[in-house]
C-alpha cells in the first residue's frame, strides 16, 4: 500500500502500481489518455480480487460456514469503504449495481416508473451521456411523462437562463451530469438542487466522471441519488454504486426481483428485504465489489484533494500545449478549475477517427467518436470529437507526446 498523503511531486511514482503502463502499444510505450472511458487498475485492486477468489470465495449472506462469513465480510466491508469514500452517513446508502448505467436505470424504473404520470416532466441537459438520457426516454414511453432540456452556452457551461420557466409543478425529476465526459464541464448541481426543492422534484446526479475526479461529500451535495461506477475510478468492470437518501430509497421499488432482495416469497405475493439489499437481486458482483473497495482505498491513500489538484495541473498544461497547435479547436471550458480532465478537440478537417489512428501508431490511446453523447454532438455540430482524458498517473510528458503526434497528423493531412 502507498502511504498517504503523497507529496504532489510524487504522483509519478504511482505509475509503478499500474502494470499496463509498463507495456507497449504498436511498439511504442503506452500513453494511455482514455481514462474517461475506463481507467487502468493498480496491482492493489487486482490483488484484492485475486485474494478474494483464492482465500475467501463463497456466496454471500445466509452462509453459516466460516468461508461464507468471510466472503460476506469482504463484500459488506467494501460497501462500507465506498460509503465512507463518498461520506455517506451509513453503508445502507450504498446499493451495489452493475455500473453507472445500471444505477440510473434503477432509479428510472424503481422511482420514475412509480412516481411519474401523463404530463409530468423530467429535466435534463443537452450535455448528458446516453446513460442519463435513454432510461428517461424509456420511462416517458411507459408513463406519458415528457423530457425537457437545458441547453449549453457558448462557454460550454449549462445555460441556466431558461431554468425558472421550466420549474413548475410538472417537474418531477432533474437529471444532471456532475462532470461531462465530453466537455469536462462541471454540472450546476447546487443550482438545480435548489430549483428542485422549490417544487418537490428529485435530483439524480450522473456521477460517472464526478466521483472519480473530485473530493465528494454526497449527502452535502443535496441531490437525492448519485450514480457512479468502479471501472472509471481504478476499480474493476462489472460493479457500480447508487448512493441515495434513505427516504428516497424507501419510496423506491425494486427494479429487479430474485434472491437476496426478499423478506418473504409466496406464490403470488412477496415482501422485500431492507435497503440496500432490497435493490440487490441475485448473487451480487462480489469480487468486483471487493475490487471497488480496494480502488477507493487506493484513491483515499492519495487523497482526493490531491487527485483533483493533479487533474487541474495536467489539464491546464494540456489546454496550454493544445493551444499551440494551429487549427485545433477545444470543446469545453477554458478554466481548468471549472472542469474535469476530459479534453475534447478537433483538428481542422481531420476526422477524429483518423486522428485516433495516427496517435495509435505512436502508442497514444485517445478516444474518437460521439462519446455516447449524440445530442451534444448535434449541439456542437460535429459528427465526432477526439478526446484525451487524464487520471492520477498522467504526466506532462504524455501531453507532450500527444502534441507532437498532432503535429505529425498535420503533416500527414498536408496542413501547412
Amino acid at each position: 500500500m502507498i502511504d498517504p498523503p503523497l507529496e504532489r511531486v510524487d504522483l509519478s511514482r504511482l505509475r509503478d502500481d499500474f502494470p499496463i503502463l509498463q507495456t507497449e502499444m504498436n511498439g511504442r510505450p503506452l500513453v494511455y489518455l482514455d481514462s474517461a472511458a475506463t481507467t487502468q487498475k493498480p496491482v492493489q485492486v487486482l490483488d484484492a480480487m485475486d485474494a478474494y477468489y483464492r482465500e475467501a470465495n463463497a456466496n454471500v449472506h445466509r452462509g453459516a460456514y466460516a468461508l461464507a462469513q468471510e466472503a460476506t465480510e469482504r463484500y459488506e466491508g467494501a460497501r462500507g469503504k465506498v460509503a465512507r469514500f463518498v461520506n455517506a452517513d451509513s453503508s445502507s446508502e450504498i446499493v451495489f449495481t452493475r455500473g453507472t448505467t445500471s444505477s440510473i436505470n434503477m432509479v428510472a424504473y424503481g422511482w420514475g416508473l412509480h412516481h411519474l404520470g401523463e404530463g409530468d416532466r423530467i429535466l435534463l441537459t443537452t450535455m448528458e451521456h446516453h446513460a442519463n438520457v435513454v432510461p428517461w426516454q424509456l420511462i416517458c414511453r411507459h408513463t406519458g411523462a415528457e423530457l425537457v432540456y437545458l441547453p449549453i452556452d457558448a462557454d460550454y457551461m449549462v445555460d441556466l437562463a431558461g431554468l425558472d420557466e421550466l420549474v413548475d409543478s410538472r417537474l418531477k425529476i432533474i437529471g444532471i451530469s456532475g462532470m461531462s465526459n465530453v466537455l469536462g464541464t462541471i454540472g450546476p448541481v447546487a443550482v438545480l438542487v435548489e430549483a428542485a426543492r422549490s417544487v418537490d422534484a428529485i435530483v439524480i446526479v450522473d456521477g460517472a466522471q464526478m466521483v472519480p475526479h473530485s473530493p465528494v461529500d454526497l449527502p452535502a451535495l443535496g441531490a437525492d441519488f448519485v450514480a457512479f461506477g468502479a471501472h472509471k475510478m481504478l476499480g474493476p468492470t462489472g460493479v457500480g454504486a447508487l448512493w441515495g437518501r434513505p427516504e428516497r430509497f424507501e419510496e423506491m421499488e425494486p427494479a429487479e426481483g430474485g434472491g437476496e432482495m426478499i423478506r418473504d416469497v409466496g406464490l403470488h405475493e412477496s415482501s422485500w428485504a431492507d435497503v440496500p439489499h432490497k435493490f440487490e437481486a441475485g448473487t451480487p458482483p462480489i469480487a468486483e465489489a471487493v475490487g471497488f473497495g480496494a480502488a477507493v482505498d487506493y484513491l483515499s491513500a492519495i487523497g482526493m484533494d490531491e487527485v483533483r489538484r493533479h487533474e487541474i495541473d495536467i489539464t491546464s498544461y494540456a489546454l496550454q500545449r493544445l493551444a499551440e497547435v494551429p487549427d485545433l479547436k477545444v470543446y469545453g471550458p477554458v478554466d481548468p478549475a471549472a472542469r474535469g480532465g476530459a479534453v475534447s478537440f478537433t483538428l481542422a478537417d481531420v476526422h477524429p477517427h483518423d486522428l485516433a489512428t495516427i496517435l495509435d501508431q505512436e502508442g497514444i490511446a485517445i478516444r474518437a467518436g460521439h462519446h455516447c453523447a449524440k445530442p451534444l454532438m448535434r449541439v456542437l455540430d460535429v459528427p465526432a470529437t477526439a478526446r484525451a482524458s487524464f487520471y492520477v498517473h498522467s504526466t506532462t510528458d504524455e501531453v507532450d507526446a500527444l502534441v507532437s503526434a498532432l503535429w505529425e497528423a498535420r503533416r500527414l493531412f498536408g496542413l501547412a
Binding site: 478537417d349 481531420v350 476526422h351 477524429p352 477517427h353 483518423d354 489512428t357 495516427i358 501508431q361 474518437a368 467518436g369 460521439h370 459528427p383 465526432a384 505529425e408 500527414l412 493531412f413 498536408g414
Partner: protein, 144 residues
C-alpha cells in the same frame, strides 16, 4: 512509413473533394449505411439504364477512409454493368483481405481504389473502407 501509406494524397483528395456527391430525386435504388462502432454514415442513390449504372450519388459523414472509399467507388462503378460492379466488388474485398506481400493488386483494374490497400495494415479501419461497398450491396439487393 505505414501512416504515409494509409493517408496517401489520392485518399485525402477524394476525402476533401468527394466525387458523385449528393442525392438523386428519383433513384431506382437507395440504401443507408452506418457503422455503429464509429458512427460513419453513407447514403447512396442509384439509377440504372437497363443493366448499367447510369448515375450514382453519395452523401455521408465520416473519416477519410470511409468517405474516400465511397468517392472512389462511385467513380469506378458509374457506367458499369451490374456484372462489372459485382466483379469489382469481389476484387475490392479480396484486396482488403489478402495478406501483405500476397497477390499483387492490379492497379489498372482497381484505379484509385488501389490506394486503399494500405488500410489492410490497420484492421480497425477496414470496416471504414468496406462501408460504402456493403451499402452498395444493400442497394443492389433491393433492386433484384
Amino acid at each position: 512509413m505505414s501512416l504515409d501509406q494509409l493517408y496517401r494524397e489520392v485518399i485525402l483528395d477524394h476525402y476533401r473533394s468527394p466525387r458523385h456527391s449528393g442525392s438523386l430525386e428519383h433513384p431506382d435504388a437507395h440504401a443507408d449505411g452506418h457503422n455503429p462502432l464509429c458512427g460513419d454514415e453513407i447514403s447512396l442513390d442509384l439509377t440504372f439504364d437497363g443493366d448499367r449504372v447510369s448515375d450514382i450519388r453519395i452523401s455521408g459523414r465520416g473519416c477519410s477512409i470511409s468517405q474516400a472509399s465511397a468517392s472512389m467507388m462511385a467513380n469506378a462503378v458509374s457506367g458499369m454493368t451490374l456484372d462489372e460492379v459485382r466483379d469489382l466488388e469481389r476484387r475490392f474485398k479480396e484486396m482488403m483481405s489478402i495478406e501483405e506481400g500476397g497477390e499483387e493488386i492490379d492497379v489498372k483494374v482497381m484505379g484509385d481504389l488501389a490506394a486503399l490497400q494500405g488500410v489492410r495494415r490497420f484492421p480497425v479501419r477496414i470496416k471504414c473502407a468496406d462501408l460504402p461497398w456493403t451499402t452498395l450491396d444493400e442497394a443492389l439487393s433491393q433492386r433484384s
